[in-house]
């Protein structure tokens, strides 16, 4: 039995995993990263448009603050988010941008003076302030009150991944590339590491650590049409679920991005609309203002995606041999803007569609994009039920996105969660109470169990074909667990997915030395099916509409019954359905009690505690007065103590210079 020891085992080499490893390493703990692919090829790279942080440097961002970012995020989540976690996030995001600036990210910068922009379809001249010249610039994105999205042209994720990846190399953090964790090693109470397969040699080994973190990103590939990279198959989610001791939160919360290119599903950034691009139908009509007069193309993604599908259902889509689609028109932005600020979009249209977006509109239709659900953790990133297991980023549910994530908040979350959870992991490793005694017999047994599972597939003849099962699963998910959901269809999906799951237990694979791609597909499809049925079953049970989860048969958000987080557990390996439990959100502690989001459906059922809390919030605001926004915030929902000490400071802005006020909060 080959065994590798480290302090912190990080499963997943994207932005979150690498930033977390850097944090742990800098605190004196050895960190080792497992990655399916060379880390600079991770899906973090696909974040194009930018990262939200309330720097407020551009004139259209003036007046932005943690408070505005907080409210936008909570409204975006349709009140599903953990508001304390959102507070932790919005306070750290500006620091993350500044840290990345110091690490070399070539953020696009503000140029003082007049510039032409497109707002609401019109050319407008805006004037950037002299004092903002050379600071990090922000662009507009959906669901935000201010221009808050910091960007590097339209390759923000790429630039961030370069810088963070470079720092990981500078810190000599080992990355075991082309390795895959197939099971977590636990003693029933604590996680001790993982059983890992080498994707070059096919060899299995045990990686043992004081703390293990899952930072494997999303699970988009359980759907047929997705913007996600081919490696986003949710295996990190699955290994946590399969322990039986860790829960997945809100897996039915799945985001569909309005502008996947049609039919390939490759993403073109929300920055297209943020920068002034318009959505049009078969008649060349700009239809979003008809549905969303306030936010138009820049309502939150769940709302825009639904409106698009609604419009297509009315027969207003453009017909093509692959089905109907709509059009994203960025021609009004002009060639210079497109070739400089939307360069990747230009390349994608050129190579994959043969379309020149300077001259012609881009065929688009909503595609699966983001997994809001994930490994349920505390605000520290640790599983509340399996000691030593941490998770962060898209793989986790800590839970800052609730039922809909805002554009630009995910790539911001990657680094912020890496910073915060990285500190929590270092604290955990520092604490002598967490010293581990590794049960070697259990390690041996669990490695043997994985080996046995793979051998059975290789020895079986004439069993199920993994690829056929996967294609069937993906079709069910896209057709029946998509943007518009409905009880009967969901029940059918749950039923069919259970059948597929049962069939996947007798999958067979031809032997082959090395990685054996068919074997990879086989063991993954078994795990993916558990996630798919978890998503579908959660969606079936949730008889309301919230954020991206929209039930045609229950179109109202129902806070009275559903202001709660779904937790899914896989109790026994023989189960074909997860066991669901629910965790209530406490309205009485919310800084922003539930209300209307400012876009989308105005109709919802209040939680019984909401009126009282709303009154209390109003009273507290009055008591404290509006002189000091920090004092108001602290009175409503104290959260500072939850942040690692080094990240508790306030954030300087050109409108809130430190020289004019105390530099540290406490």
């Amino acid at each position: 039995m080959k065994v590798v020891y480290t302090d912190v085992l990080v499963i997943g080499g994207g932005l979150t995993g690498m930033r977390m490893a850097i944090a742990a390493k800098r605190r004196g703990h050895d960190a080792l990263i497992l990655s399916l692919v060379p880390p600079k090829r991770s899906h973090s790279k696909a974040a194009q448009g930018g990262m939200q942080a309330s720097l407020g440097n551009v004139i259209k961002g003036q007046g932005d603050s943690e408070d505005v970012h907080f409210e936008d995020t909570v409204r975006g989540s349709d009140w599903g988010a953990d508001q304390e976690v959102v507070r932790m996030f919005v306070n750290t995001a500006p620091k993350a941008v500044r840290e990345l600036a110091a690490w070399g990210v070539p953020w696009s910068r503000v140029k003082k003076g007049d510039r032409q922009v497109v707002i609401n379809g019109q050319q407008v001249t805006i004037t950037e302030r002299d004092e903002a010249h050379g600071l990090v610039a922000q662009r507009d994105f959906g669901g935000t009150k201010k221009w808050r999205t910091c960007y590097v042209s339209d390759c923000t994720g790429h630039a961030m991944l370069q810088a963070v990846g470079d720092q990981a190399i500078a810190e000599s953090i080992p990355v075991h590339e082309r390795t895959e964790a197939l099971a977590l090693i636990t003693d029933g109470e604590r996680c001790h590491g993982a059983v890992v397969r080498d994707l070059v040699t096919g060899e299995l080994s045990a990686y043992l650590a004081k703390a293990t973190a899952i930072t494997t990103g999303g699970a988009g590939r359980i759907y047929r049409v997705t913007t996600n990279a081919v490696i986003c198959e949710g295996i990190g989610h699955a290994i946590a679920l399969e322990t039986g001791h860790a829960a997945l939160g809100n897996m039915e919360a799945v985001q569909f991005h309005p502008t996947g290119i049609f039919p390939a599903g490759i993403l073109v950034t929300e920055g297209c609309r943020g920068d002034g691009g318009l959505l049009k139908d078969v008649d060349g009509h700009r239809f979003m203002p008809d549905y969303e007069p306030e936010k138009k193309e820049l309502a939150s993604r769940d709302v825009v995606s639904r409106r698009m599908e609604e419009h297509i259902a009315k027969g207003k889509g453009v017909k093509s041999r692959w089905g109907d689609h709509l059009l994203l028109d960025i021609t009004l932005l002009g060639e210079h803007h497109i070739r400089h600020n939307l360069r990747e979009v230009f390349e994608i249209c050129h190579y994959f569609l043969g379309v020149d977006p300077v001259k012609d509109p881009i065929p688009v239709r909503p595609a699966q994009h983001y997994t809001m659900g994930g490994v349920r953790t505390k605000p520290t990133g640790e599983s509340p039920t399996l000691k030593g297991l941490f998770s962060a980023g898209e793989a986790a549910c800590w839970d800052m996105h609730g039922f809909n994530r805002l554009g630009g908040n995910s790539v911001a979350e990657t680094v912020v969660a890496g910073m915060l959870v990285g500190e929590a992991i270092a604290d955990y490793c520092d604490d002598r109470a967490n010293d581990a005694t590794i049960p070697m017999a259990a390690v041996r047994e669990q490695l043997g169990a994985v080996a046995g599972r793979l051998d059975a597939m290789l020895q079986r003849r004439g069993g199920e074909e993994p690829q056929a099962l996967k294609v069937a699963m993906q079709s069910i998910m896209t057709d029946k667990v998509g943007i518009f959901r409905e009880g009967a269809k969901l029940a059918q999906a749950v039923d069919e997915l259970q059948q597929l799951l049962k069939r996947s237990r007798s999958v067979s694979v031809a032997p082959g030395a090395g990685p054996n791609p068919e074997l990879v597909a086989a063991y993954r499809v078994q795990m993916m099916l558990k996630l798919a049925v978890t998503v579908a079953y959660g969606a079936l049970q949730r008889t309301e509409s919230r954020g991206a989860h929209f039930r045609q048969d229950f179109p109202r958000r129902n806070d009275a019954e559903w202001l709660k987080r779904t937790l899914a557990w896989w109790k026994s390996p023989d189960d074909t359905l997860p066991t669901l439990t629910y965790e209530a959100l406490d309205v009485r502690k919310m800084e922003l009690p539930p209300g209307w989001r400012g876009y989308g459906n105005k109709d919802y059922v209040d939680h019984p505690d909401t009126p009282a809390r709303a009154e209390e919030v109003a009273r507290l605001r009055e008591q404290v007065g509006s002189a000091d926004r920090f004092a108001v915030q602290a009175a409503l929902m104290p959260y500072q103590h939850m942040l690692p000490e080094r990240y508790r400071g306030r954030n300087e802005r050109i409108d809130e210079l430190f020289d004019a006020q105390p530099t540290k909060a406490a």
Binding site: P38, R41, L55, A96, G104, G514, P515
Partner: protein
């Protein structure tokens, strides 16, 4: 404007008979005892808008489950899928069969360690080169206070830096490089471009003396024979020719000083 015709430009009509594509693929699995490199032929009906990503996956799903290759983003941004397509290194995911068929020869990138079939270990090579060239930003020894305003930068400079930062480490430049075939330790255009990128960045405190130590050798910028295939094949159109020439002049100046 008639928007209905713009869905997929140049798509042949649905009634047109699909072309029959022939793939000649280099097969070799070093993990398998007795495996020897050989060419294997496959046939596939072309579809509208078919890329090598779609074609190779279809071959693996329907004809040969053992075929090894690498794709991640399938959108031309991650650099995973570089391979030799009809003798030229390029990103497979954004190569349309329309442009390279009907007979398509696929081979793994040379120079890099072979994992199997079309899959090579570019990750290991890139990490090694980054370590050797210390290809990370060497900022101030004292970390900046990230609560405070970020350091300012001229907008035009930020754009220039991004231009050099766009490298996706796909390995095409190395695979096309004459020197890389002869000198195992040559840093390649990717390595030189990285140094050029940090040299341009005022946040990096290294001097030309420091850079000379890293690339002022025949394994560095003086190894380049100016064949410049790297410049021609770079999928991201990085200005490699200018950067190599510029750095060579700067480094030569250091060497003579």
């Amino acid at each position: 404007m008639n928007h209905t015709t713009t869905a997929v430009a140049d798509a042949p009509a649905a009634t047109e008979t699909a072309r029959r594509l022939t793939f000649n693929i280099l097969r070799y699995n070093p993990q398998e005892k007795g495996s020897a490199p050989r060419m294997q032929t496959y046939h596939l009906d072309e579809a509208v808008g078919m890329t090598l990503f779609i074609a190779l996956n279809e071959l693996r799903e329907k004809q040969d489950p053992s075929l090894q290759f690498d794709f991640v983003c399938r959108a031309g941004i991650c650099g995973s899928c570089a391979m030799m397509v009809n003798g030229r290194p390029t990103l497979a995911c954004r190569t349309l069969t329309r442009d390279v068929g009907p007979e398509i020869t696929l081979a793994p990138l040379p120079v890099f360690e072979l994992i199997g079939d079309l899959s090579v270990n570019t990750g290991k090579w890139m990490r090694g080169t980054s370590e050797r060239l210390e290809a990370w930003l060497h900022g101030d020894a004292k970390p900046r206070d990230i609560d405070r305003l970020e350091e300012r930068m001229e907008p035009a400079l930020a754009e220039q830096l991004n231009e050099l930062d766009r490298c996706v480490e796909c390995g095409c430049c190395v695979a096309s490089c004459g020197t890389a075939r002869m000198r195992a330790d040559f840093v390649g255009a990717v390595g030189i471009a990285k140094i050029a990128r940090f040299r341009l960045d005022p946040r990096d405190k290294r001097t030309d003396d420091d850079y000379y130590e890293l690339i002022g050798t025949d394994d560095g910028v003086f190894g380049c024979m100016s064949l410049l295939a790297c410049h021609d094949v770079c999928p991201k159109d990085l200005p490699l020719q200018t950067q190599i020439a510029f750095l060579r002049r700067k480094m030569a100046g250091k060497g003579w000083a």
